[in-house]
C-alpha cells in the first residue's frame, strides 16, 4: 500500500542543499467533527513522523490536529553520500507506516 510520496529535484550533487517534499495520505481526524450520522469521529492524527537519511535523522515532526488532512511537509537536506531515505510515522490508532527511497548523490 503506497500511502506516502517523497520528491526532490534530480540529480543531486555532493554537498548541495536539496528541497525534499513529503506527502503522506492520512485522514488526520481531529476528534471534534461529526460524520453524516451525527457520531463524533474519534481523533486519529499522526503523532510522530521521522525522516532518516542513512542512519542519521534529518527531520522530525510532531503534528497535532492543527495540520491538514493528507499532511504535506517541505524541508531541506544536505548530504555527501548516497543513502536511503527512510520515512516512518505512527498515528493515534498505533498504525505505523513507512516509505523508503534511494537518495542518489552524484
Amino acid at each position: 500500500m503506497n500511502t506516502a510520496r517523497m520528491q526532490w529535484p534530480e540529480p543531486v550533487r555532493t554537498g548541495e542543499v536539496v528541497k525534499v517534499r513529503v506527502l503522506v495520505q492520512h485522514p488526520m481526524d481531529t476528534g471534534y467533527l461529526q460524520d453524516l450520522t451525527g457520531k463524533v469521529v474519534p481523533r486519529n492524527i499522526i503523532r510522530l513522523l521521522t525522516c532518516h537519511l542513512g542512519q542519521q535523522e534529518v527531520f522530525r515532526v510532531e503534528p497535532s490536529s492543527g495540520l491538514s488532512a493528507n499532511p504535506f511537509f517541505e524541508f531541506y537536506v544536505r548530504t555527501t553520500v548516497t543513502a536511503e531515505f527512510k520515512l516512518e510515522w505512527i498515528d493515534d490508532k498505533g498504525q505505523k507506516g513507512n516509505h523508503f527511497q534511494i537518495f542518489n548523490v552524484s
Binding site: V17, K19, T30, Y32, L33, Q34, D35, L36, T37, G38, L53, Q56, E57, V58, F59, R60, V61, E62, P63, S64, S65, G66, L67, S68, A69, P71, F72, F73, E74, F75, Y76, V77, R78, T79
Partner: protein
C-alpha cells in the same frame, strides 16, 4: 397629546430600549461559556509554556502564507528562519502556534545542522481569523518569533453534517 398617548409612547420607548440592550446581555452569556476554539489566547499564553522565561526576540523569522485564506482546513504555510545552520549555531525546533485553535501547538519541527537551511513548510488547519506565531528555538537556547494575521473566511471546525 393626551395622557394615554404619552403612556403608549413611553411603553414603546422602553420596549425599544430592551430590544437594543438584549444582544449585550446575550453576548455576555455566550462569552461566559468560554468556548475553547472561540477565545483568543494572548501572546504570552501561547509562547510562555514553550519559552519558559528564556530570551525571545522578534526577528530573523519570516512566515509566508496567504493573508486571506478561503478554506481554513488547508492553509499553506512556509516558515523561514535566518540561520547559518552550522554545528555551533543552528535552529533546533520550529513551533507553529495558533491563537484560536483548540490545540494551540499545531506542529513542532525538529531540525539540525544537516538540514542546511532552516526552512519548513506545511499545510495547517485554522479555526477562524487569528494571529499565528512561528517560534524558532536556536541551539544557544534563545528564541526568535514572528506573528502574522491570517483572515479565514471558513473555519476548519465545521462538520460534514
Amino acid at each position: 397629546m393626551n395622557a394615554e398617548g404619552m403612556l403608549r409612547r413611553k411603553r414603546l420607548q422602553s420596549l425599544l430600549l430592551a430590544g437594543i440592550s438584549w444582544p449585550c446581555f446575550m453576548g455576555q452569556f455566550a462569552y461566559a461559556q468560554r468556548m475553547n476554539s472561540g477565545s483568543l489566547l494572548s501572546f504570552d499564553d501561547m509562547v510562555q509554556p514553550i519559552v519558559q522565561g528564556a530570551k525571545i526576540f522578534k526577528k530573523d523569522v519570516q512566515i509566508e502564507a496567504p493573508i486571506l485564506a478561503d478554506n481554513g482546513s488547508l492553509v499553506p504555510l512556509q516558515v523561514t528562519v535566518q540561520s547559518a545552520m552550522t554545528d555551533l549555531d543552528h535552529v533546533t525546533h520550529v513551533y507553529l502556534l495558533s491563537q484560536r485553535n483548540p490545540v494551540t501547538q499545531m506542529a513542532v519541527f525538529h531540525l539540525g545542522p544537516r538540514n542546511g537551511r532552516a526552512i519548513v513548510s506545511t499545510r495547517v488547519r485554522l479555526a477562524g481569523t487569528q494571529e499565528l506565531v512561528a517560534l524558532a528555538r536556536l541551539s544557544n537556547g534563545e528564541f526568535r518569533y514572528k506573528q502574522m494575521e491570517i483572515i479565514v473566511t471558513e473555519s476548519a471546525c465545521v462538520d460534514a453534517s
